[in-house]
Symmetry: C2
Subunit: 457 residues, 2 copies
């Protein structure tokens, strides 16, 4: 029966119809049908289902299906949802799930937990794995040491292709994924690596040292993971040996982990730029979302009240020329938009390391020039709008001149704020947006009203 109900769904694809069918099965309490619907899916897709449904649906699904939730599904889940699911598993289910994972995945799950919960999982691991996980947790959070897998495939420098192949055939525990054989000296210092492709296509008597790849690079275990991700992306690496302070091989990072980090870094940057907590997820509840967004908006409320104070100083001018109340927000809005443009380009270029001390001054000059040129164009438009729409060309000219000044300020702020944050070792995306729009709002109102007071009143 389960087969007939699932027969018209796509083989193994996750789409809205399958999610509906899954929820129906949960409603009906039909574990057999639920398994028939979930089993063909990749663990990443099952995790997506758990993330997309509502908290109560999730509770019901996990209650019905907790025995089938394996380590791979757990490691694909968002942190917040994962805590929820783990809390619903029995200690036996949880330790079974964790035992089948590679150590780097166990570390990834463990590092977000509090100590007592970590203890339960560590106790469930066998001795060798527990030791490996504890060693990894000894490296700083967000470091290469946390990201690497400890299982490495190595060979002494004098080996031939044939010796390496024989060794691999006799190894009883190889990593799930490996792409190179790393040559090490007797002290475990990595000397280079050969791709499996080169090994497979070379004769048995070929020396490994004769088929090493050019441009061999290693990273330190204490290196930040975002720097590691940058290396992978910049140098098109597929795996990278990790060494300790004494240059001894301690693990290897593979490209799928690096791709993951790159993806998370992007995610954080985009959310930070918009003033949203970097940990936020589409699966968060209302309370969690309010908690994340309120502080940033509150900062903006203070900033906006500062602008209101500035405007309040020009009470007399606005009373005299009420049209200013309509026109001055245009200056602020244009500044905010132009500032956001400069800011976004600068933050991205810093992330990809295309913006460095070598070209920072040239970029600042370019942004300033672009601000003034765009400002001149928009000022002309506003002069005409003032003349035709508000019966005063001079009013338009004042607004236009304020706009030139504000676009210049926007260009400088949009570029210098992230450059400064970066120089200070902070994330350049961190609240730059609020900072830049506060400056352009303040300048926009101050300059339009100030100029109007000087020229028109």
């Amino acid at each position: 029966m389960a087969e007939s109900l699932t027969a018209d769904l796509n083989d193994d694809a996750l789409d809205a119809r399958r999610v509906t069918a899954i929820l129906d099965a949960v409603d009906a309490g039909d574990t057999g049908l639920l398994t028939a619907l979930l089993e063909p899916l990749h663990a990443a897709d099952i995790a997506d289902v758990l993330e997309q449904i509502s908290p109560s649906e999730r509770r019901d699904l996990v209650a019905l299906w907790s025995g089938e939730i394996d380590g791979e599904i757990l490691s694909e889940l968002d942190d917040a949802i994962r805590d929820e699911v783990i809390a619903a598993l029995s200690p036996t289910e949880l330790s079974e799930a964790m035992r089948e994972l590679d150590t780097d995945d166990v570390v990834d799950i463990l590092e977000d937990m509090d100590v007592p919960q970590q203890g339960i999982i560590l106790d469930a691991l066998d001795d060798a794995d527990r030791f490996a996980v504890q060693q990894a947790l000894g490296y700083p959070e967000g470091s290469a040491g946390r990201l690497m897998q400890r299982e490495v495939v190595i060979a002494p420098e004098h080996w031939t292709v044939g010796e390496a192949i024989d060794h691999l055939r006799n190894s009883d525990r190889l990593p799930d994924q490996f792409y190179h054989v790393i040559l090490v000296d007797p002290r475990m210092k990595p000397l280079g690596y050969a791709t499996l492709g080169r090994i497979l296509s070379s004769k048995r008597e070929t020396k490994l040292r004769d088929i090493l790849e050019d441009g061999f690079r290693t990273v330190k275990a204490t290196e930040e993971e975002e720097d590691v991700a940058y290396f992978f992306n910049q140098y098109h690496m597929i795996s990278c040996p990790v060494v300790d302070a004494d240059d001894r091989l301690v693990g290897v990072i593979t490209i799928d982990d690096a791709m993951n980090v790159l993806d998370e870094e992007h995610h954080e940057d985009v959310l930070l730029l918009a003033g949203v907590g970097e940990e936020s997820s589409i699966a968060d509840g209302i309370r969690e979302t309010v908690r994340q967004r309120f502080p940033w908006l509150f900062v903006n409320l203070i900033a906006a009240n500062l602008s209101a104070l500035v405007i309040g100083q020009f009470h007399g001018t606005i009373s005299a020329i009420v049209a200013l109340a309509a026109l001055m927000p245009i200056v602020a809005s244009m500044g905010g938009n132009a500032g956001t443009q400069s800011l976004t380009v600068a933050v991205r270029a810093l992330a990809t390391r295309d913006l460095t001390t070598s070209n920072a001054m040239r970029v600042v000059r370019r942004e300033a020039a672009v601000g003034v040129i765009n400002g001149l164009g928009f000022a002309s438009v506003m002069a005409i709008v003032g003349w035709l729409g508000y019966g005063s060309a001079m009013l338009g000219v004042v607004i236009g001149m304020a706009m030139i000044v504000n676009l210049f300020v926007a260009a400088l702020a949009g570029t210098l704020v992230p450059l400064t944050l970066n120089r200070m070792g902070l994330d350049p995306a961190l609240s730059s947006g609020t900072f830049v729009t506060t400056m352009t709002d303040l300048m926009g109102f101050f300059v339009s009203l100030g100029l109007a007071t000087l020229v028109l009143v």
Copy 2:
């Protein structure tokens, strides 16, 4: 002499000191020193140097060093800079550079060129490569067919590990990068693949079909590259066979290409959200930058003038209560910020496919609830500000109520605009920002002034 000058630089790292040294060598016209400084660098770093220096410095560097600029450097360059560098190469230098590249990299360079320039490069290729490149160009831009390399490593389904190894040892032209041997039937339909690691660690007599990977997936050559990148990221794939409409193997995509696409997609999304042309680069000149940003700002200028029209309708109210001119921008600003928060979360979740038809309504409800709750909090603050700062609690209450309405509108607009764009098959990041802030500006001014007219005047 070159050695002593370069000795105190880091081995092969690109930093500001090396860039300065490179520019000094260019100034001095010292080709030997220039080569000593550039040669140890990875092609990607040399491309970064070319992107970071000014146009005139770039011209001088290329003039001195054009013979050494190889295909790899060209394929790492930004489009705009690449055109510049290619224009400075002689036809012989250009064709030599192109001949050493894999066909997918040649396609990547060619697709941005106009037809006569494409012709020059195609003529420089040997017949087999030209044919492969022309076939790839037959697939739509941004499709898997453009992204794939045509060099594949295949085996008939009945082969053993030993037969596969012997075949690889006798192949004279293998791809630079390959991670699987793909099993095909006599019609070239792919049946599965074995990782090189499994092949290397299995006995010679093992059948390939017994060591195939679980969860084998292929993509169609016409599939969009961003969907391909999603597959790689979601399913942790390392390479993926590409098939034509008849399910025959035509090529393979590797993870480094997918990572590149993912990176570019992120880049485009961030820039589009900020209203910056998606092609823009930190290396663009002033003219190009003005050309990219002016149109988006012009749209915003029109939107801002619409807001001014709305404000203008309340001339009488503002004359009566000038403090409104100071307070109403707060409502607009808060709406803009809250809308950007909702928008960014929605655009990101659409990109990662965490926001689907299954949970869209729940997310819209959540955003609306968060908007109202935050609005209530900020409204209380504004009531106090109105009372203490402007001598009128009622003025603060009006502003506060306007804020609740506007944060509700911001939540809906920030979520529904990207969902609608996505449903229409457009990029949800496309100008969503301008659209949402236009709505929150209009609503912010209209509701604050409208309520004030009803309640206070």
